[in-house]
């Protein structure tokens, strides 16, 4: 069963000159339940826009986006926000965490906007599982970059999402930490039965995945277009 299904999705940005610049043109792309996929692509190839479309942060100009059996293009923005809070976990490159909040509080933020009561026990368990059970009350500035990414992973899993989207989560990590974070994300998603879509421009990060795709392979807007020409 597919948890993410994109059909005929097109998305264009308006460039400074007022012209439209195609970013996504995907005829069909799917991600199965519990599946883990790594998406490779150079900078500007539409990787992040693809994640935003799947997360419901932005709507495509055309096409269908189904996530966890929900057609996102049929939802208004508040409904997509609420859907995202419950069904999608998101990990970014850096600056995932909010200053002024402890590790535990940052994780609990993962359930703050979903309309469900925060599950502090699960938050503690998740932090323990990512190796930060002893740093529950540390603020982001007291954590290393690798530790912050682990907190972000725990937060992304708190609401028991269907899909985790990871946008270059190891971009600012050294190779050792890169490997640890990738292994952590994968194992955690596997244990939670959460489908994982990780985008990266680094082949060595993607090599651990069974399914590795180049975005150019299914995004016609990115094929043969130099990165600088894509908005």
């Amino acid at each position: 069963m597919d948890v993410v299904q994109l059909v005929g999705v097109k998305k264009a940005h308006v460039d400074p000159a007022g012209g439209r610049c195609a970013v996504l043109d995907v005829e069909r792309w799917v991600l199965g339940a519990g599946e883990q996929a790594a998406l490779l692509g150079h900078s500007g190839s539409g990787k992040t826009t693809l994640l935003h479309v799947i997360a419901g942060l932005t709507l495509p100009d055309e096409g269908s986006v189904r996530v966890a059996d929900c057609e996102l293009t049929g939802l208004d923005e508040p409904a997509r926000d609420r859907f995202r809070a419950g069904a999608i976990g998101y990990v970014y490159q850096t600056l995932n965490l909010l200053d002024g909040f402890s590790s535990l509080e940052n994780v609990l933020l993962g359930m703050t906007f979903g309309g469900r009561p925060p599950d502090e026990r699960r938050a503690r368990d998740l932090l323990d599982r990512v190796g930060l059970g002893h740093r529950l009350h540390h603020r982001p500035e007291a954590l290393s970059v690798g530790e912050r990414q682990r907190v972000a992973v725990a937060r992304a899993l708190l609401a028991r999402p269907t899909v985790m989207l990871a946008d270059e989560p190891t971009a600012h990590l050294d190779p050792v930490n890169q490997r640890q974070v990738i292994d952590l994300i994968r194992s955690a998603c596997r244990e939670e039965s959460v489908a994982l879509l990780l985008v990266t421009h680094a082949p060595d990060v993607a090599e651990a995945f069974e399914r590795v795709e180049s975005i150019e392979s299914f995004n016609r807007a990115a094929k043969g277009i130099p990165a600088k020409e894509v908005a």
Binding site: H13, V23, S43, G44, G46, K47, T48, T49, H52, A55, L57, T58, E77, P78, D81, R82, R84, A85, G86, Y90, Y92, Q93, L95, N96, L97, L98, D99, G100, F101, E105, L108, L109, G110, T112, F113, G114, P118, R155, A159, D167, V230, A231
Partner: protein, 503 residues
């Protein structure tokens, strides 16, 4: 975690900016609180002081407000005097039918900056405002024949360090400027309980002693040698209008020719019964000059309690040499209250003013507008502080765009982030407002005693104004409005761009 908690954390992350903005708001609110409280207290004091035990003040023609200010508030300089005989008209003359009681005031001296009032003991036996009478906290009232006795207001006693049994020398002039010469000693025989009126700051001396001081009679100023009147003359001047005089003012222990006297100033009865006095030599370094040259020669001090002034041979000052600065008049009825001022004002000697009307006029025309202007300025400070909130939050928006985007990616709706920013603004406003409210009352606690000592208007940290109830809601509203622009910025944050879209 609630949106409230997120808002609080947002403020804590920007602790310095939050503190500075909150302090500026608190300062503004502090000013508003002070102005409101002082306004309320002053208005209350004006209202209370406008409600006097007397309804007419009579004094020399001239400034009506000045007459009220220096009679009721012991402020400004005294107006010219009116003859004592004019005062007698209220006691037993043409104005007597209109009058329940009339009390003379002689002004022009001070003791350490507090006004000295020459008056009669009867002042402390009538109401100083409706239903309220003076109470002697310590000691007793001055006696009719205690020419150099004094009763001191509560604040004046405290400020001057005077207690019953102490003596003081009034200084000529109403300001303690070191220019006036010192008079003879008066003995404090009583200290008044606080009344909450400007009289708390005054020292009341027996009018008989007041007249005996240098420069306090018309003859002193004119440089002529006065003739002492015989006993008959002086006794006459001391008769109060028996029909209208309150019982407590009528009569005393002295019987004179079989009639009761309202004994307002019968110092030296025996003395002037014996005729004119010879100059005395009391060794006070103060020459009574012409006045004493006419004093009774064989004045018998043993019969009088001169309250520390023993050894002097003062006789009462003849009526034509006496003057009064003001006469406090309690009219008999509303008709009298309406007619008496007209009759007085039609004459050439004096004017009659309604203190209540003058006080209200002063408040409405002068004090009120000034305080409204102060309130306006203070409100402006609060508005500027609210703009500070806006600037602070707008400035923070650039740095917070990513934070807002993260929250949006976690499922926060636009209205959630809008609410969070508005809550931050609201919290800042409420915290700054509450701190300002506390600071305002703390400031009142610090400056209140100083203000009370200077003006007689009691204001302290626990003085409150009803309008204060509106401060926090208004500040909260203002802060929320100030937070609306940055909240809209948060609302409109482009999540994809803020998350560093590389598209």
């Amino acid at each position: 975690m609630s949106l409230w908690a997120i808002a609080v954390r947002g403020l804590r992350v920007r602790a310095l900016s939050t503190t500075l903005t909150g302090v500026s708001l608190a300062m503004g609110v502090m000013l508003v609180v002070c102005v409101l409280v002082v306004y309320g207290v002053v208005a209350g004091a004006f209202e209370r002081n406008a409600s006097l035990g007397y309804d007419v003040i009579v004094g020399a023609k001239g400034g009506r407000l000045q007459l009220v200010l220096n009679t009721v508030y012991h402020l400004s300089t005294p107006v010219e005097n009116v003859p004592y005989s004019y005062y007698r008209e209220f006691v037993e003359g043409e104005f007597a039918p209109y009058v329940v009681w009339a009390i003379p005031y002689c002004l022009g001296d001070n003791y350490r900056g507090n006004r000295v009032v020459g008056t009669v003991p009867g002042l402390f036996e009538v109401e100083y405002s409706p239903g309220r009478r003076y109470a002697i906290a310590k000691g007793r009232n001055m006696r009719q024949d205690g020419a150099f006795e004094a009763v001191v207001g509560a604040v004046a006693a405290r400020q001057a360090g005077l207690a019953v049994g102490d003596r003081f020398r009034p200084t000529h002039g109403v300001e303690d400027d070191g220019q006036g010469h010192e008079h003879e000693e008066f003995a404090v025989v009583g200290v008044l309980a606080p009344t909450g009126t400007p009289n708390d700051r005054a020292l009341f001396v027996n009018i008989e002693g007041f007249y005996l001081l240098d420069g306090h009679t018309s003859h002193d100023r004119e440089g002529t040698v006065p003739d002492r009147h015989d006993d008959e003359d002086v006794h006459d001047q001391d008769h109060l209008h028996a029909e209208n005089q309150p019982t407590h003012l009528e009569g005393d222990d002295h019987e004179h020719g079989g009639h009761e006297q309202a004994n307002l100033g019968d110092h030296g009865q025996d003395a002037h019964a014996n005729g004119h006095a010879e100059p005395d030599d009391h060794g006070h370094g103060h020459d009574h000059g012409e006045l004493e040259a006419t004093a009774p020669a064989d004045h018998d001090d043993d019969d009088h309690d001169h309250a520390g002034h023993q050894g002097h041979d003062h006789g009462p000052v003849p009526v034509e040499q006496r003057e009064v600065t003001a006469i406090l008049v309690r009219t008999a009825n509303p008709v009298a209250s309406a007619l008496l001022p007209n009759r007085i004002n039609e004459g050439p000697v004096a004017q009659a003013v309604s203190p209540a009307r003058e006080i209200r006029g002063l408040f409405e025309e002068v004090v009120g507008p000034i305080q409204w202007a102060l309130l306006g300025l203070a409100a402006l400070v609060v508005v500027v502080a609210a703009v500070g909130i806006l600037v602070s939050l707008v400035n923070s928006m650039g740095a917070r765009r990513r934070e807002i985007a993260v929250m949006r990616a976690l499922g926060a709706r636009r209205r959630d982030v809008l609410t969070i920013v508005l809550l931050e603004s609201l919290l800042l406003g409420v915290a700054g407002g509450a701190a300002g409210w506390l600071l305002g009352h703390a400031l009142l606690g610090v400056v209140g005693p100083l203000a009370a000592a200077r003006t007689g208007i009691a204001v302290g940290p626990l003085s409150f104004a009803a309008a204060e109830l509106a401060i926090l809601p208004l500040v909260a509203l203002l802060a929320t409005l100030a937070g609306y622009l940055p909240a809209r910025m948060a609302y409109r944050t482009d999540v994809a761009r803020a998350l560093g879209s590389s598209a």
